[in-house]
C-alpha cells in the first residue's frame, strides 16, 4: 500500500540554536530528508560598506572589527593592508612580524570556536566547546593585554599599530605557544577517533573539488576539498614567505575533512608564531602616517587568508579623507553559495552539521 506523503517546509532560523547567529534556512522536508533548501540572509545587515563611506580611513577600523567578530584582528589586518596599498604606506618591520603573530593567534582562536561549535552542532553537550573556549580565552587575554578589549580590538592602524606591545606580552605568548600543542592533542583524543563523530561527519556534506573552486570557496572549506590554495603561500602578505609552514588539505571534502583541516591549521599557526617570535625585530611599530590619511585617487584590492577564507577589501579613493567605496569580499558569505548543493538529500541533523562545518559568522555574511 502506497502511503500518501507530503513534504513540508521547515524554517530553521533565524532564531535557532545552531544557526550561529541569525541565519535562516527555509528547508523543504520529505520526512527527515531535505528535499530543497534556500538560505535567507540579511538579518544582521548593518550596511557597513555604506557606513565606511562616511568615515575617515582610520574611523573605518572599528567598523571592520564588527564584520567577523570572532576574528577582528584579521579584519583589521585586511583593511589596513588595503589602505596601505592604496596610500602606498609601508609598515615597519616589527609591525609586520607582530601582525603575523596576531593574525595567526586570531586564526587559532577562530578555529577553536569553529571546531567547538561544529562539534556542538553534532550534538555534543558543550564539553568540547568549553574546552576550546578555555584556550580561546587565553588568546583573548593576550589580545586584551595589547588592545584593551577582548573582542573588538581596533588595534591595527594604517602603517602599523597604535601602541607597542607591553613587556609582559611575549613571555605570556611563549607560555601559550608551549602549552597549546598539548591541548590540541587533547582535542584529538577527545574527538578525532570518536566513532559517533566519524559516523556523523565522514562522507557527509561533500563539496567536490571542482565545485569548491567554481563557487569561489576559500579557506578551510576550499582546502578540505583538496585544493592547495592558501593566500599566505600564493600571494604572501606581511612577509609570510619568510616562515616555514605547510598547508593542510583534505581529500574528500566532507565535514570531517573540514574539521581536520582546521585542527591542523592550528598546529601550523603555532609553528608560524614560534618562528615569528624568534625573528621579531625591535624598533618602531608605526611608520609616520598623517593623522588623516588622504590616499591618492585610485583603487586597491588587498586580500588576506582570514580564518574563514579569503577576506578582501576593495577600496576606491577619490583623494578625500574617507573611502569613496569600500567593498568587503566576505568569505563567510561566498562559502555559503553551495550550501544547497551540499545539503539536499541529507537529513535535518546533517544540515546542521554541514552548516556548522562551513564555519560562518553572521556579522560577516550580512555585513
Amino acid at each position: 500500500m502506497a502511503l500518501k506523503t507530503e513534504s513540508f517546509a521547515l524554517n530553521i532560523g533565524p532564531l535557532h540554536p545552531s544557526t550561529h547567529g541569525v541565519f535562516r534556512m527555509r528547508a523543504v522536508l520529505d520526512g527527515e530528508v531535505i528535499a530543497n533548501m534556500e538560505p535567507v540572509f540579511g538579518y544582521l545587515h548593518r550596511g557597513i560598506e555604506k557606513l565606511a563611506e562616511e568615515r575617515t580611513y582610520t574611523g573605518v577600523i572599528p567598523l571592520t572589527d564588527r564584520l567577523d567578530y570572532l576574528a577582528s584582528m584579521s579584519n583589521n589586518l585586511a583593511y589596513v593592508l588595503a589602505v596601505e596599498k592604496l596610500a602606498e604606506i609601508s609598515a615597519p618591520e616589527r609591525a609586520t612580524y607582530l601582525r603575523v603573530i596576531l593574525a595567526e593567534l586570531q586564526r587559532i582562536a577562530s578555529h577553536l570556536i569553529a571546531v567547538g561549535a561544529f562539534v556542538n552542532d553534532c550534538g555534543a553537550f558543550f564539553t568540547p566547546f568549553l574546552y576550546m573556549f578555555r584556550e580561546r580565552e587565553k588568546i583573548l587575554d593576550l589580545f586584551e593585554m595589547l588592545s584593551g578589549q577582548r573582542l573588538l580590538y581596533n588595534y591595527m592602524r594604517i602603517g602599523g599599530f597604535n601602541q607597542d606591545i607591553p613587556d609582559e606580552f611575549l613571555p605570556a605568548l611563549q607560555k601559550f605557544v608551549s602549552q597549546m600543542p598539548g591541548f590540541i592533542d587533547e582535542y584529538d583524543r577527545l574527538l578525532a577517533e570518536n566513532e559517533i563523530l566519524l559516523a556523523r561527519t565522514k562522507g557527509v556534506g561533500i563539496l567536490p573539488q571542482d565545485l569548491a573552486v567554481n563557487i569561489s570557496a576559500s579557506g578551510p572549506v576550499l582546502r578540505a576539498s583538496g585544493v592547495k590554495w592558501d593566500i599566505r603561500k600564493a600571494d604572501p602578505y606581511c612577509g609570510y614567505d619568510r616562515f616555514e609552514f605547510d598547508i593542510p588539505t583534505g581529500t574528500a571534502g566532507d565535514c570531517y575533512d573540514r574539521y581536520r583541516v582546521r585542527i591542523e591549521e592550528m598546529r601550523q599557526s603555532l609553528r608560524i608564531i614560534e618562528q615569528a617570535m624568534k625573528q621579531l625585530p625591535s624598533g618602531a611599530v608605526k611608520s609616520t602616517v598623517p593623522y588623516l590619511v588622504r590616499p591618492p585617487a585610485g583603487e586597491a584590492y588587498a586580500h588576506i587568508e582570514a580564518p574563514k577564507g579569503e577576506l578582501g577589501f576593495y577600496l576606491v579613493s577619490d583623494n578625500s579623507i574617507a573611502p569613496y567605496r569600500c567593498h568587503i569580499r566576505a568569505p563567510s558569505l561566498i562559502n555559503l553559495t553551495a550550501l544547497r548543493d551540499m545539503t539536499v538529500g541529507w537529513k535535518v541533523a546533517d544540515l546542521i552539521v554541514i552548516f556548522g562545518s562551513i564555519d560562518i559568522t553572521m556579522g560577516e555574511v550580512d555585513r
Binding site: 587565553k138 587575554d141 573588538l152 583524543r189 566513532e195
Partner: protein
C-alpha cells in the same frame, strides 16, 4: 587512516572528560571574584582632564560615532578657548579609543573601571564634571604606557590554568 570501529575512540574521549573532572574549574565567581582587566583596558567611560584640555575639538572630529559634543567659548583676556560643555553620549560610544589617540594634549583617557550599567537612558550621557577623574573612575593606560605601568598586572588565564594537556 585507521579507525577501529568498536568504541575505542569513545573510550578515549571518555577518559579525556574523566581527567577533566579532577582539574580545577577555570571559571571565576564574578561579583565576588574579579579578574584584573588589562592595563590598557578600554573601560566604560572617558576620563577627561579639564586642566589640560584646550578645547581644540580633535577628539570630537576623531570620533567615528560622533558621540562627543564640545561647546566652547573664547576667552580673549587669557587668549584661549574654554570648554563650556563637554558631553559624551556613552550610549552610542563604541569604546574604540580613537578620541584618546587623537587628543594632542593628553587630556582625554580611557576609563579603567567597568560595571557602569544604568537604570535610565539619560544617565548614559556624561557631561563635564561626570567625566573628571576620581578615585572611583581611574584612568586606564590605553595609549599612555607610564600610566599603564602603575596599574596592577592583568590576570591571565594562562597563569591560572597550569595543567598541561
Amino acid at each position: 587512516m585507521k579507525f577501529e570501529h568498536f568504541g575505542t575512540g569513545i573510550i578515549k574521549g571518555l577518559a579525556v572528560t574523566l581527567r577533566h573532572l579532577f582539574r580545577k574549574p577555570i571559571t571565576t565567581q564574578y561579583p565576588e571574584q574579579k579578574l584584573t582587566t588589562s592595563r590598557r583596558a578600554r573601560g566604560n567611560e572617558l576620563v577627561w582632564d579639564i586642566t589640560k584640555c584646550t578645547a581644540c575639538g580633535t577628539c570630537a572630529k576623531a570620533c567615528p560615532q560622533g558621540v562627543i559634543r564640545i561647546v566652547t567659548s573664547a576667552k580673549p583676556v587669557e587668549n584661549r578657548y574654554v570648554v563650556e560643555k563637554f558631553e559624551v553620549d556613552t550610549g552610542y560610544c563604541i569604546f574604540c579609543g580613537l578620541c584618546v589617540e587623537a587628543c594632542p594634549f593628553q587630556s582625554l583617557l580611557m576609563g579603567y573601571s567597568y560595571e557602569r550599567a544604568k537604570y535610565r537612558r539619560h544617565e548614559v550621557v556624561h557631561t563635564n564634571e561626570m567625566l573628571l577623574p576620581s578615585a572611583k573612575r581611574p584612568a586606564s593606560g590605553y595609549m599612555y604606557p607610564k600610566l599603564a605601568k602603575a596599574l596592577p598586572p592583568q590576570t591571565l588565564l594562562i597563569e591560572r590554568d597550569e595543567v598541561k594537556g
